[in-house]
Amino acid sequence: MAHPSSYQPSTGIERWLDARLPIMRVMHDQFMVFPTPRNLNYWWTFGGILTFMLVAQIATGVVLAMHYVPTEDGAFDSVETIMRDVNWGWLLRYTHAVGASMFFVAVYIHAFRGLYYGSYKAPREVLWILGVLILILMIATSFMGYSLPWGQMSFWAVTVITNLFSSLDAVIPGLGTRLVEWIWGGFAVGGPTLNRLYSLHYLFPFLIAGVVALHIWALHIPGNNNPTGIDVKSPKETVPFHPYYTMKDGFALLVFILVFAAVVFYAPNFVGHPDNYIPANPLQTPPHIVPEWYFLPFYAILRAIPNKLLGVAALLASISILFFVPWLDTSKVRSTSYRPIYKWFFWAFALTCLALGYLGSQPPGGWYLVFGRLFTLYYFAFFLVVMPVVGKLEKPRGLPGSITEPVLGPEHVKGRPARAPAKRKPEEVA
């Protein structure tokens, strides 16, 4: 929400700086008094959680990089040296590895929150597109990071994924092979491949940080969406970001860190794969090559298509289709809470993503493949059919007059209470 600046430099130094670089003014206006809808629920706390996770991953990663050796012979052993001989190395590495998974937990919740409450709709299209861009950068970064321990799963995941580019041979013979050899830096996955993956794994988090800055900028122009999906109409409906949302986000962040810490300290290898504790061996293919859990739905979509080139196309489409969501959804209301028909399709879509995740972890044959194809079909139908058609046909439920109407009491809202109504008392939400 564009709002007039209320920053008052109180000392000479602050006035001096404000005339030259108004950074204190920006901090004050955007992170202290920034008007935030007062009815945001706990699903809105994941933006702050994600910011924390990015910083945590960069901080642990920078220290890990001081001890890691990006060579075929050194990678696996240097990771074990970190685990055994580097002071607190085990904590750094487990925090970083589990952190990648927690990062994806948070980003998927964040994305589904945006999808449910229509946060991608005008005037927040650019905000959404930047979010999808961050997701794609995260996928690339985590894939490259997973390759670095150079265990069996690292090696074979790199082999499988880089080989996807060879499907371009079906378009122009030789193009795919050339491209893959260029990516590998040789005629097979090897030392040069590991070295470039390491270099890019160090670069990408900073690209993410840059896009995150744009994402926050794009958020601060229209301001936050909210659970009702209707626009803020008066300043009374907002509260200053600090202390209200610093406290609420801070509380949610700590609960998140509590879960994160429990995994790091008590089940650090829960999200990993035992095969990655076997050093990479180009001569021995593991019986099942499975990606990390957060890629499983996309992996299921890739394998659902019998043609390699089309499978890769479907994989890319499954992510890039998110860019077009703001224009695919034709509904006039934002929040799914007020959309009686779309609501069912939405939850069916959420279940589809979970089902695809399960199917991605199973061998691609028999019924797994049949269901993989069915769910892939619905995955795309949700975006290409449900979003445009249901939005046109459906009659939304009556919207509240203002965002504070449900805040002041759901009895004021006509009809049934909303599925996820904003609550006045924070403790009820907690």
Binding site: R38, D77, E80, M83, R84, W90, L91, Y94, K236, V239, P243, Y244, M247, K248, G250, F251, L254, V255, I257, L258, A261, A262, V264, F265, Y266, A267, P268, N269, P274, D275, Y277, I278, P287, P340, I341, W344, F345, A348, L351, A355, Y358, Q362, P363, G366, W367, Y368, V370, F371, L374, F375, V390, L393, V407, L408, R424, K425, P426, E427, A430
Partner: protein
Amino acid sequence: MQPSGFSLAGAFAVLLALPGASLAEEATGTQANGNHAPEIARQSWSFTPPFGTFDNAQLQRGFQVYKEVCASCHSMRLLSYRNLGEPGGPEFSPKAVEVLASQVQVSDGPNEKGEMFQRPAQPSDRFRSPFANDQLARLANNGALPPDLSVMAKARPGGPDYIYALLTGYHPAPQGFELAQGMHYNEAFPGHQIAMPPLLSDGVIAYTDGTKPTVDNYARDVSAYLMWAAEPKLEERHKTGARVMIFLIVFVVIMYLAKRTVWARLKHSNATHGA
């Protein structure tokens, strides 16, 4: 509402069918495919989270099993002798570690004459590998390569449970099971054909602390020892974890109260607005 109801019924049908189908697939998979990993029984260990610690005496016995039996074929190249005396491990005394290391001859050099030479190992040396290279290891083992055991307890599904099941899983092959030449039947091993012969039998290792010298105890002790070798900071992790969790729980409560206090101001102003 018509389209919604229709698709809903479809979605439910698909979802209800899913688990049944997958169970059926799994069942047939087990029967048809001998390579399917067998069920591994869970054992009770002293080191299970959240508060578990290693049993030093058990790790010392496990090291003894490794040294006297496993080490003749399996390397543990990521470990040093000094690790045997570090906290959270077998915790041999510094003197004992020196003696254990000095029993082993390692190659060093080159010296000023440009020659490699043999010397007794020091605590800072890595465990000596039984074979100079993989080719020699295969040559001595009928073509099979005995894997390095440094992180074995994390490199197999089931971890120490699997190692225990493997070491106690040697049985006569069932009727009609085709066993390849030089292979041994093992219930826990995927495919049930393992190149490693059953080397443990009651009494082959003389325990000195009164523990019964049975295959079951050997297998249990060496599995615990390998778990420590794979995760030498496990005790430190559990101890640090307890402190971190207590800190975080207290912090979460304080943060919740702070948040509630701040938001309570709003409720007051709400009430006045509402009235």
